[in-house]
């Protein structure tokens, strides 16, 4: 396994956590306006038709997770291996999914 491949679990775990935060605060990197076919930087307000933030949320989360993974890569392997990435890889996404379910629970209680 290369060092690059060893960082895959770090990326998955960090993405899941960052995604929940980015979605909650709507830090979308781009906004797509499907009715007029226009892309805009940042979380833009509605123009003509509904704006779509999801693509931007995924992009922001992926970039932030990549940066964080790169930072983790700088940590010496001996220190990095103390964290149980095999456990965090599924525990953090699971927590994130539960949080997202709670965040959108309003749809089920209306």
């Amino acid at each position: 396994m290369t060092k690059f491949e060893q960082l895959f679990p770090v990326f998955g775990a960090t993405f899941a956590v960052i995604y929940a935060v980015v979605l909650d605060y709507n830090w979308a990197l781009v906004t797509y306006h499907p009715k007029i076919g226009v892309w805009e930087w940042g979380a833009a307000v509605m123009k003509d038709g509904p704006p779509m933030y999801w693509y931007g949320v995924v992009l922001t989360s992926a970039l932030a997770a990549l940066v964080l993974t790169a930072v983790v890569a700088l940590i010496p392997a001996s220190v990095r291996s103390r964290a149980s990435w095999s456990g965090l890889t599924w525990l953090l996404p699971l927590c994130s999914m539960v949080f997202l379910g709670w965040l959108l629970s309003g749809y089920y209680t209306k």
Binding site: F11, F15, S86, G106
Partner: protein, 156 residues
Amino acid sequence: MLIGWSILLMIHGILAVFLLGAITHQAIGVSWPAKKRAEGFVSAVRSVNGMTYTNVVIILFLLTFALGTIIYPTYRLNVRPVLQEYRLFRPEGSFELKEHFMAISLALLPAYWYFWRKANESNRVTRAVLTSIIAFSVWWGFITGHVINNIRGFGS
């Protein structure tokens, strides 16, 4: 115009069926492995070699996800307003959750590949939970998509 989107939606659905079969098979095999291969369907499902499914699952996931992102704007313009108009909040919320579960599962694919590539008994729990998370997301997405299509398919 909408006929073209309907065809894309159908291909998206068919790919999702293949993905559903592969990931469910793998999730059962790793979570509930058979100690000894016996006769019968359940034993056969539990005895599968999960490693052989990994690359196929990743390719199917990426294809299904890519098609989903392409047809997503059509949903936002033609389907979601109808759900809101008829106050169908549960299907709408389920679709919102679907897109988030899928995004998280997409980001988990490299880790999924990593742990399956070096599969051994010490990381079986990690593989089982990771595979189950992706399987759950795929099932959620499939059922939600099916319900939404029943409410208002693109061809309607």
